[in-house]
């Protein structure tokens, strides 16, 4: 059996980059078919194939690491760089929406009444559900840190409990935000206020859902004994992403909900 003389990971040929790229084509052309030709077939196929690709690709990463041992210290270092760079790219993504918000709100045009919030817009009270949501995400930051420390100390039961609490708080945030969306007195088409509000908070909500899904996967992996007390990068990556989601909310809360009201 051939053995490598280096610590790097030479992966097996994989079909998932191809299926991922093709499913991106199906998603985008699916949107076109939905918007312009009233057909959802392509979009549904696209959603299905992108979910299948993600499931199998990440399943393979777990196999390569936990079951085949390919994630040496060097490989892990590369993965850390990768996750940090990815989160940095997401920071720039949100920066754009914050730019749009500040561009419009710092110098409101005469068409808006020369004021912010614009004339006719009744903003949400920052001291009600938005403040509760802030405390929920802050608390989830504490619980995920507890989960990490429990994991490092080898306390399986506490790790599962703390991670469960973190996920529950994330789900609670999502449900509260969904009800806020449903009951809001303004919509996305209510001028630039509505656009900036829903684009910024909407993409944030999507990231909460992505982060919660990542944490749920970590919970299942912890149940299956995949993590050890000194090797659990998947969990660390999920925790970094979760803290990023929390920070974006804090910025949203201070800028749009508080200063913007």
């Amino acid at each position: 059996m051939a053995h490598q003389m280096h610590a790097y990971h030479m992966i097996n040929p994989s079909p998932w980059p191809l299926t991922g790229a093709l499913s991106a084509l199906l998603l985008t052309s699916g949107l076109v078919m939905w918007f312009h030709f009233n057909s959802t077939t392509l979009l549904i196929i696209g959603l299905t194939t992108s979910l299948l690709t993600m499931y199998q690709w990440w399943r393979d990463v777990v196999r390569e690491s936990t079951f085949q041992g390919h994630h040496t210290v060097v490989v892990q270092k590369g993965l850390r760089y990768g996750m940090i760079l990815f989160i940095t790219s997401e920071v720039f993504f949100f920066l754009g929406f914050f730019w749009a918000f500040y561009h419009s709100s710092l110098a409101p045009t005469p068409e808006l009444g020369g004021c912010w919030p614009p004339t006719g817009i009744s903003p949400l009270d920052p001291l009600e559900v938005p403040l509760l949501n802030t405390s929920i995400l802050l608390a989830s930051g504490v619980s995920i840190t507890w989960a990490h420390h429990s994991l490092m100390e080898g306390n399986r039961k506490h790790m599962l409990q703390a991670l469960f609490i973190t996920i529950a708080l994330g789900v609670y945030f999502t449900l509260l935000q969904a009800s806020e969306y449903f009951n809001a007195p303004f919509t996305i088409s209510d001028g630039i206020y509505g656009s900036t509000f829903f684009m910024a908070t909407g993409f944030h909500g999507l990231h909460v859902i992505i982060g919660s899904s990542f944490l749920i996967i970590c919970f299942l992996r912890q149940l299956k004994f995949h993590f050890t007390s000194n090797h659990h990068f998947g969990f660390e990556a999920a925790a970094w992403y979760w803290h990023f989601v929390d920070v974006v909310w804090l910025l949203l809360y201070v800028s749009i909900y508080w200063w913007g009201s």
């Binding site: 079909p15 093709l22 499913s23 084509l25 392509l42 696209g46 194939t49 690709t53 390569e64 079951f67």
Partner: protein, 83 residues
Amino acid sequence: MLRNLLALRQIAGRTISTASRRQFENKVAEKQKLFQEDNGIPVHLKGGIADALLYRATMVLTVGGTMYALYQLAMASFPKKQD
């Protein structure tokens, strides 16, 4: 009645713990053996027949979907004239 209640509690405890014990046992070593077998099978198919089925289904949907997308593109590029 209290004695019966205590007996029931003991039995229930025993049944649940035996049933769930297999579910939460550490099976990583078995998986490591399966995925480190020197059989030349790539990692995305190494888990067994379910891998092959899922791979085939994904390929059929993506390639088929791509052909469908290209067909729709062709149809949209040449709109039917209204009489």
